[in-house]
């Protein structure tokens, strides 16, 4: 077919060669295989992002508008309303960080759903993947990376808008919290992407979860402003457990692992306790989606 390659060469290119993937050392390399396939799938997502950056651009503009608009909405509120020496800018930044990460993670299942619908997933399913969880892992790595980019932009923008900049330990703690909330929500969304019949249903679920969870959290207003029943809901909402410790970090230079960072109608939570709650949330979701994934990945 091609002139530049001799017919003998063509033969050797096309001949079967079962040993090409180094099957001799089958068992020992399965972790290597998992990493190889996960990296390749992650790379695909980043190439898509690079060539179609509109999701990322929108994902940065939107929280920026939250910051500016909500900041302006409450700019004449009596000082001290949102807690002692907490300006609304300081109050708002953690809410926007967590909510932005949450929305991004909630949408994580959509690309997978489209791969299912367009048949691209079949290309992955006929390949001898070392584990089909690499498909899930790649999406998770990608979404977490995106959330970190968004978080960094929000932190910087908030600093410019007067919220100040937490120290290095504070920033690391924020990254940990964002990681934990994104991990659980991404897993949930991916589980749904394999369980629901199509993208219409997935979008419907995203739609009815997104804003209600925002308003039933402490992202925009403190617990003490809320009706009693909403306080209960907000105290059960995982978003609140991510927002409150970050808010504490923004408000206190001298936070520690045992600082009480969050009040609920029942009792206070220390920083360490909040992290445990988020870990439990992740564990719960990862367990819950196992049967959904296994049904398809058996």
């Amino acid at each position: 077919m091609s002139q530049s390659i001799s017919s003998q060469n063509i033969k050797s290119v096309l001949a079967p060669n079962p040993g090409i993937s180094g099957q001799s050392n089958q068992q020992s390399s399965s972790l290597g295989d998992f990493i190889q396939e996960t990296l390749a799938l992650t790379q695909r997502l980043f190439i898509q992002l690079q060539r179609r950056p509109s999701t990322l651009v929108a994902g940065i503009i939107q929280p920026f508008m939250w910051l500016v608009l909500f900041g302006a909405l409450f700019s004449k509120a009596p000082s001290g309303l949102f807690g002692t020496d907490l300006s609304y800018a300081k109050f708002l930044a953690p809410g926007v960080i967590v909510f932005t990460a949450f929305s991004g993670a909630l949408n994580a299942g959509l690309p997978v759903m489209f791969d299912r619908e367009f048949g691209f997933l079949n290309r992955l399913l006929v390949a001898p993947l070392s584990s089909r969880y690499s498909i899930v892992a790649a999406s998770t790595v990608y979404i977490i990376a995106l959330s970190f980019i968004q978080t960094a932009v929000i932190v910087l923008a908030s600093a410019i808008l007067g919220a100040g900049l937490p120290g290095l330990a504070g920033l690391s703690a924020i990254a940990l919290i964002v990681f934990l909330i994104v991990l659980g929500v991404t897993a949930l969304s991916l589980g749904l992407a394999f369980a629901l019949p199509g993208h219409i249903e997935l979008i419907a679920v995203i739609f009815v979860t997104n804003l209600p969870l925002l308003f039933a959290s402490t992202a925009l207003a403190p617990l003490s402003f809320m009706a009693d029943w909403l306080q209960v809901i907000a105290s059960l909402n995982p978003l609140t457990y991510a927002i409150e410790p970050i808010r504490y970090i923004y408000g206190h230079g001298d936070w520690a692992i045992n600082s009480i960072v969050m009040d609920t109608p029942w009792f206070g939570f220390s920083f360490g306790a909040v992290i445990l709650v988020l870990l439990a949330f992740d564990a719960l979701i990862l367990l819950a989606i196992q049967p959904l994934l296994r049904r398809r990945f058996a």
């Binding site: 079967p16 090409i20 993937s21 390399s29 190889q36 290309r123 001898p128």
Partner: protein
């Protein structure tokens, strides 16, 4: 040596549709094997079970002696699959898609670049490799998909209706390529509803119809088994009914003529089945001349695969094709397939 592909009594239903009722066939190493059947015969369903995309309800599937149900991963490693509808990521370039594919099949990092370049050259994709696949024509896409399917040097390449929707030139490219592939030692399993395609390419074939195999063997064998040659006779360009009847009567009395059918649609031409290996044409012409009937045209041919299908099902593949395409609900199938 175990068969390259062995399928035995395969069954698969979607809801209450029995897509595959009872399919068995064997593909020998190094051959091109054709699965021929009209739309809806169950070709894609069979292939999906073989490629481990669908779980069979019953039956045995083996690739090189390895069970696809018990060891799906080992089977996936041995198969290359070119799907009926090519799913590509439009945003990626051809080369990027091949890189992804190489990683999914765990090619060693150090050989990936060379291997991709070789396939790009062999398939004549140099000009397109660095362009986004969204800009490709159907023929180029097919070639990219062939490259992707062969990247890991599989023992068996499976192609589901690889030339549907391609122009004649692209179709010839695919045919030639598959022949090259065979001479390099790769086993090829190809489905099609084009008789000529299977006739031209396949060493052996199975004809399937409504979920069952109705014939399996070499194309020549199947045609020979049918027996006789086909003769097409025109007395005049447009023959009158009386003359056609008269000729039919005369020809039926000849010892080597087995059957005579008047084809009214084709201007009352006559289709004959005659015993093969005789000087039938001159005898036909002679006996017509004796009753003063002229001969406008006369041609003898071996039976085609369509005649094989016709003999088994009572209709031509084209007829079956038309009948089934009106009866399918493609949207519903797509939904089902995702489950």
């Amino acid at each position: 040596m175990s068969a390259a592909v062995l399928i035995e009594n395969l069954q698969k239903s979607y809801g209450d549709v029995q897509a595959v009722k009872d399919i068995s066939f064997t593909v020998q190493p190094g051959e091109i094997f054709g699965l021929l059947g009209p739309n809806g015969a169950g070709k894609t369903t069979t292939i999906r079970c073989l490629c481990t995309l669908a779980k069979p309800d019953a039956g045995k599937i083996e690739v090189g002696g390895i069970s696809a149900v018990a060891s799906p991963k080992a089977v996936r490693q041995r198969l290359g699959y070119v799907a009926q509808e090519v799913a590509i990521d439009k945003v990626l370039t051809g080369r990027e898609l091949l890189k992804l594919q190489a990683a999914l099949y765990h090619l060693p990092q150090k050989i990936i670049g060379d291997r991709i370049q070789q396939l790009i050259e062999v398939l004549g994709l140099e000009e397109y490799a660095n362009k986004k696949t969204g800009t490709y024509s159907g023929g180029i896409r097919k070639r990219l998909d062939l490259a992707a399917g062969l990247l890991h040097q599989p023992e068996v390449l499976i192609l589901d209706e690889p030339t549907v929707g391609l122009d004649i030139e692209s179709r010839m490219v695919v045919w030639e390529f598959l022949q090259e592939l065979r001479s390099a030692g790769t086993t090829v399993l190809i489905t099609s509803h084009y008789l000529e395609e299977i006739d031209a390419l396949a060493d052996r074939l199975a004809i399937i119809d409504r979920g069952v195999v109705i014939a399996e063997g070499k194309p020549s064998e199947l045609k020979d088994k049918l027996g006789g040659d086909r003769v097409t006779l025109r007395i005049r360009e447009f023959t009158s009914d009386e003359e056609a009847d008269k000729a039919k009567h005369i020809l039926e009395s000849l010892s080597f003529v087995e059957e005579v059918i008047i084809n009214a649609v084709q201007g009352n031409s006559l289709n004959l089945i005659v015993k093969s290996g005789q000087s039938s044409l001159s005898k036909i012409e002679q006996s017509l001349a004796e009753v003063e009937l002229p001969t406008f045209s006369l041609a003898q041919s071996r039976p085609s695969l369509d005649d094989v299908y016709l003999a088994a099902t009572g209709q031509t593949i084209m007829d079956a094709q038309i009948a089934s395409s009106s009866a399918r609900d493609l949207k519903k199938e797509k939904k089902q397939q995702m489950k």
